[in-house]
Subunit: 138 residues, 3 copies
């Protein structure tokens, strides 16, 4: 069994932002030399997400508007914010969008359907964050 | 390390539908010959889900009603639909229900609790879709 | 390839409760002797969750209040409850919070960001439940 581990560093311009990380994940799979296996990609922070969906700008705006509706920013609305934080909403938003994805690696490539791409979803940005990529297989 | 990859093809009768795929996943695990490992099952499309829950028809209706409440169909309600699509809701619904599951394989079997079964959740059906099953282990 | 499987037993005092299981998961990784691999942790029941977030009590209260808002307890509100159950809400709540997490194991440790910890989320408690931990790697 082989394994390969990489950490991406990211610092978004916006507090709420969606970033396509598919090229970085593809490169990690190539570097790994793994032909058959599983690739885990996860946010290493608890106010951000990694998810798979369509690379369509309107949809990304829909995602951000939707999580704001389901878990609105509200500095006085969350017990978590009594700790001095104002990011209670971000913990909930990331829960809807998910922490991680697991992707099949087949014949040395991400085994994706026609529209699948990997995104980082940031809900408390403008600070240094990390994303983990780990591939195991043969 | 061994690996086994399969693709299920599905075309639902309804736009919104939940389908039990547990038998197909069990068969793939048997075919793989893997005794200890991990089994990934994921939708290969971005408007459908794979999830684990109870095989109870009333609950499945509850799931469909609930995602409709949280992310209603609305042809004019999503920026994504400005591309000519009408499935903006389906991308959100699938996000709630999840893209994938990872299941332990122990002693050659899906290592499930008493009521766990695997389902495909379709939110933009009546067209050809695929589900990926990948098992790695020994 | 090595693998290690463990089952945690849990019976919460409350119907709705969040329990930190990070120490148990760490111990399982140590016992496994695996240095590089993937660790799956999942609820084996369909009314409970395993998820990763912050170990902050106020946030945990926020999570429980939030899932109650998105999927309220309502004995007459779910078709699933026509079976004689009253836990229709718990199946939906667990869906938001997630069934499972997959964690990278690197240099023999859970490869976590600074605030990541693993939690069990119970939405129909006061009964025996199990959590599965499976690590594969080398």
């Amino acid at each position: 069994m082989k394994s390969h581990t990489e950490y991406l560093h990211i610092n978004t311009e916006e507090r709420y932002q969606i970033v396509n990380i598919t090229p970085e994940v593809r490169k990690a799979v190539e570097k790994s030399g793994i032909k058959e296996g599983l690739c885990l990609v996860n946010a290493m922070h608890i106010t951000s997400s990694v998810f798979i969906n369509d690379n369509e700008r309107g949809l990304h705006q829909d995602f951000l508007a939707w999580v704001e509706k389901l878990a609105p920013y509200n500095i006085h609305g969350y017990k978590h914010n009594l700790t001095g934080e104002d990011n209670g909403d971000a913990h909930l938003k990331r829960t809807i969008m998910g922490r991680e994805v697991v992707i099949a690696v087949t014949k040395g490539r991400l085994d994706f359907g026609p529209w699948e791409e990997v995104f980082y979803g940031e809900f408390d940005g403008r600070r240094d964050k990390r994303i983990l990529i780990k591939i195991i297989g043969e």
